[in-house]
Amino acid sequence: MIKLAKVVEIKDPLEKGRIQVRVYPEFKELKKDDLPWAYPKMTVYNDVNFIPKIDSFLYLEISEDWVTFTYLDSVDYILNNYRYKEIKEILDEIDEVSSFEYPDPDFKINPNGFIEFFNKTNKETGYVHSSGTYVVFKENGDYYIKNPDLFEIHFSENKIEMKNLKSFTIDGSAETNLSLDIENGKLELTGITDVIFKDSTNVALGGATESAVLYAPLKTILDTLLTHTHPFSYSAGPTPAVGTTEISPALTPLDPTTIESDQVTLT
């Protein structure tokens, strides 16, 4: 049988998700200590663990001999609790949700306000968090993760678009990361040992497009290294102190055959 009950205690001494309940009207007068503990009833396929609030009302399934008491842990059976209009107001504000017209969508509202929806007609599905962040999946597989005030990412076939970002970081480890500070116009590579422009035609630096891999300046440098066999002086450090000149050891001639074409294009 199904009976209405009020939750009077949720701290289950056995920590098995049981709740102590007052069944109406039969147990209206019983002392709290004498009231039964109801077990949650859940399927292995919908493993939702949820403990109702104290003083909330729910429906219990009770055996004919009043020995077993169970509650459906993910559902409060409350009359007139169908909240379509309330959810529609929220979803109408989301551009990516193309339709949420009664009776197409199924939806679920978790106790913390988290919304899950599924439109049976156009197959759109998604989630809305109470912070305003939402995820919308389109039938073709496109999906959006968006918070209108914070970020917007759109995944589609072979493409990821990110908008409204102030920064973007790929944090590989403590020593290696790529950080793009869009707001301050700064790209920072930390611990990146190789930067490879492969099969590139042009690389734009300082607003101008230069020949690939700045071929001419690089060739000059390499030629110098090939021919320079004498010691030369340099100033140690970014701001050398006056009079401190050190002599470097002689350079070993560079063997051009060790420069692989995959690394530097010389022709």
Binding site: L30, D34, L35, P36, Y39, W66, V67, T68, T70
Partner: protein, 383 residues
């Protein structure tokens, strides 16, 4: 009325003695292991319609019978449940045979209420009532594996039948259904089938050979070797009990002992079609014992298929739940080994027939464990 020969027959209505013509009344006082309250029927030839006009037999009126033979007299009270009038004698006038159906007086004291009980039905049984009994016979039950039972706004009878009986397993006898009833002497019995049939016979009955009231019967009215319909038995008797252990995920099967003991001898059970394994959907193994008790309780109607209906002189000590032995014969005065056995009194009815000013007792005797073929052992006490 008072004395009629060696019989005592007196009736009080709402505490006041009533003068009625003995030949105009008949009544039956009865108890049964299958009925919680003992019941009675009073039939009055209301020739002039005074019984109807006075409305003294309205529902709720208390009727007390003082009834017996020689020194064996009881005083027992009932409440009018309902009445009906049959065979009007005078057209257009109140008259006819007034039949008054009565239920034991404790019914009037019953109350609906909610309370929590312990986890031991035999400990709860007496505490349910706000009145006491002349006598009690309560067989101890096991403590259940959960904290408590509940009485959810139920009266005593409902609580016993819906809450306590289905959760009772004897702590002494082999597992079997429990029965609870109040006999016409006001004794409350709460006992398992195994506990009742294990009782030593109270009386040994032979046919018409002695003036000793306790030890003879007048007639066997009916012999019912198998009162159950085969179809019903085939569909309802549980032989094996299976359930999934949701921890080991193994199927566990147990034999339901009482079914095999009580009914296993019948030829129908030798056939494969009679097999009726029962599968329990166990949700919580804390309740396994209770679930087994339910199975035993469900089968209680089929436990006593062999019945005799026997008439004896009026003897009010025959009450339901006692055992007796019967000696009967067949052929050329040969002792019947099939039917000269120990029987349980399933129902006892004590009759006053005003037409011939005579009392009698009619018993439904049920044989717990028939054998096929009958063995040649004469039950202890049968001579």
């Amino acid at each position: 009325m008072g004395k009629i020969g060696k019989y005592s027959v007196d009736i009080e209505i709402n505490g006041a003695a009533v003068e009625v013509i003995p030949s105009n009344i008949s009544f039956v006082l009865g108890d049964s292991i299958n009925s919680f309250y003992s019941k009675a029927t009073l039939t009055i030839n209301d020739l002039e319609g005074y019984g109807l006009e006075s409305r003294i037999f309205t529902s709720g009126s208390k009727i007390t019978f003082v009834f017996g033979y020689e020194e064996n007299i009881i005083k027992t009270s009932f409440i009018v449940d309902f009445t009906e009038t049959l065979d009007p004698i005078k057209s257009g006038q109140l008259s006819g045979k007034l039949v008054i159906y009565l239920i034991h007086e404790s019914f009037a004291l019953s109350e609906r209420k909610s309370e929590s009980l312990s986890n031991k039905p035999s400990g709860d049984i007496e505490a349910l009532f706000n009145y006491s009994f002349e006598d009690t016979d309560i067989e101890e039950t096991k403590e259940l594996t959960f904290d408590r039972l509940y009485r959810p706004f139920m009266n005593e009878k409902e609580t016993i039948e819906k809450i306590l009986l289905p959760n009772s397993i004897s702590s002494n006898s082999s597992p079997s259904a429990y029965f609870c009833f109040i006999d016409i002497k006001g004794k409350l019995t709460y006992k398992s089938f195994s506990g009742m049939v294990a009782l030593e016979p109270s009386y040994s009955l032979i046919q018409n050979l002695t003036d000793d009231l306790e030890n003879y019967y007048l007639k066997i009215y009916s012999i019912l070797p198998f009162t159950e319909k085969l179809e019903s038995v085939k569909d309802h008797i549980v032989y094996d009990l299976s359930y999934f252990d949701n921890k080991s995920l193994e199927l566990i099967s147990e034999e339901v002992e009482i079914a095999n003991v009580a009914l296993g001898g019948y030829p129908i059970f030798k056939t494969e079609i009679s097999s009726n394994p029962y599968f329990m959907n166990i949700e919580n193994f804390d309740y396994l014992d209770r679930d087994k008790a339910h199975i035993y309780n469900l089968q209680k109607d089929s436990l006593l298929p062999d019945k005799l209906i026997v008439s004896t002189p009026l003897f009010l000590n025959y009450t339901s739940g006692k055992t007796v032995t019967i000696k009967t014969k067949y052929g050329k005065n040969d002792v019947s080994y099939s039917y000269s056995k120990k029987y349980l009194i399933e129902k006892a009815s004590h009759l006053w027939n005003g037409k011939n000013n005579q009392g009698s007792t009619q018993l439904i005797l049920s044989k717990p464990f028939p054998e096929f073929p009958a063995n040649s052992t004469i039950e202890k006490g049968v001579y």
